[in-house]
Symmetry: C2
Subunit: 319 residues, 2 copies
């Protein structure tokens, strides 16, 4: 087995070319790769070319890699043709476990065992998906966010039968193609961001179901509220700032009791000493040598910049 | 009773001047109001002036109202002095129900009954807080987001004993001072944004407690992922886009089954026909006459703008 180094990959295959697979295709093309793509839908070729064409102006704005071109996309008639010469495979089939299991087994059979195959699944642990593959050791989750050609995050995690090298290879490869990578060392259904996003989403569905809020209320409550901060400062550090100069410790002491309130349908964990310490230490690490006043100034500038960038503030006056 | 029209208010009182109350103080000063402030802490005056001074550069960037000045802040020795001439009172005391009940009763006793008193509470329904007040009809929740001088959202809702005019007056007043207002017609603990935020936060605490993710992972998973979109497009409409040209209907049909997966510790509601229709109709309303391709282009431009505004992309090349 002679694994291609992540930075030497030139040809990738995208299997499944809906919104996510098509978005991956656009991303890899913009980064200068040859991309082969396959999807069982009869109009797959037309659809993926439309996604790429729609994304290209944004990708040009971001700056294309040398030689990047939509013309380096090849739509193949069969799955085997798509992956035959690929040095990496990104699977983005619909979110059905049986389908994923069979497709990953087919991909496994059609590729050399030194090729890493990543699934875009938004929730299934690889352990549950790699059951039918003969050589499951190179199967990983590489979970992107829509649109994959713009949102940096990819969550990488293996299953019980995945070799460590494949997880490390995938993380290095995604970093080489310009993604922000979180490598997880254990499987959790939904990974990290999707669990957080899904918790918010389920609560939103409850509120609509109960008539407590409309879709418009929910969207406005985020874009006019916490969402403005989350574009550049995560929920932990923003909550630490809500604790004032006392930081996360003060925030937990002040709002800890409200974890017992029915503020969502999600039951909260017990805020014991270990969890309290983990939250406080994590925020201290995130802050580094930035004191409260500096973090506040950075956050304020961030909110202003985001408000201005999204057209909600006038441009600054020229001096 | 002769209520001051919301747009004619000139003097507001901020009671409780921690991070939130101090932030409100800065906001009202920047919008050109006379502000009286009171807090029982011995260093309250110094602290609120420090918050205002720290916020002022950001507020100057946003553009101050004519005549706005930090000098128009008066720190009073007593609660009664703070509210005596105020045409609006913003209460931002610590999140303790007993304290809020007593403080709101004191504020009620110290003000004319045509003055609206709003609580910054992040979770308590006004019905639970207005129990001790003699004239509870003008007590409302006006829930801001940190920092109140930058994040536009305020959620307004009354309690069972609140008159409708007070809710409408508060909504109009907050709009007059430049906030984005969501007026709720029923009480839900946590209101809207905080329920959504709290669901995410509780799941984050679970993940840290279980060792599934670090504080750094959680923050990065949002700022590099969904948070980039939420600054300008809410969770419903972004999920509708994940459904491709099929929109929210396709998204719900594709991901509906995953509501039964243990993707968070929050139990999901049943996706029945009524909920499905409410989500789809709400997203159709949000999209208006913008078709999928236009929404995708807007989202892409938004992500690029936010990435650039928050220093994660180079400035565009000059032509």
């Amino acid at each position: 087995m002679s694994v291609t180094a992540p930075e030497n990959v030139r040809r990738v295959a995208c299997v499944g070319t809906g919104v996510i697979g098509g978005g991956w295709t656009a991303h890899f093309l913009a980064r200068g790769y040859d991309v082969t793509a396959w999807d069982p839908a009869s109009d797959a070729g037309e659809r993926v070319r439309r996604i790429v064409a729609s994304a290209w102006p944004a990708l040009e704005q971001l700056g294309l890699a040398d030689g990047a071109s939509p013309d380096r996309l090849t739509i193949t008639a069969t799955l085997a043709d798509a992956v035959a010469d690929a040095q990496f495979v990104q699977e983005s089939a619909p979110e059905e476990l049986t389908l994923k299991r069979e497709l990953l087994a087919d991909l496994d059979a059609a590729t050399a065992d030194d090729v890493v195959i990543a699934s875009s699944t938004s929730g299934y642990p690889m352990t549950d998906m790699q059951t039918h593959a003969a050589r499951p050791q190179r199967l990983v989750v590489g979970h992107p966010f829509n649109p994959p050609y713009l949102i940096p995050l990819v969550e990488v995690v293996g299953g019980e039968l995945t070799d460590r090298w494949a997880v490390e290879w995938a993380s290095a490869f995604y970093m080489a193609v310009g993604k922000s990578v979180i490598t997880m060392d254990r499987e959790v259904p939904g990974f990290i961001a999707n669990r957080l996003q899904e918790a918010l989403w389920r609560e939103a569905l409850h509120m609509v179901a109960e008539g407590e809020a409309t879709v418009a209320d929910i969207d406005a409550s985020i874009t006019e509220g916490p969402g403005l901060r989350w574009a550049f400062m995560g929920p932990c550090l923003t909550f630490a700032l809500a604790g004032g100069e006392g930081g996360m410790a003060h925030m937990l002491d002040q709002f800890g009791p409200s974890l017992t309130l029915p503020l969502t349908r999600l039951e909260a964990p017990e805020l014991d000493d270990a969890l309290r310490a983990a939250m406080i230490d994590g925020c201290a690490d995130a802050a580094g040598d930035r004191h409260y006043a500096q973090l506040v100034a950075e956050r304020d500038q961030g909110v202003i910049d985001v408000l201005r960038a999204t057209g909600r503030l006038p441009q600054p006056r020229k001096a």
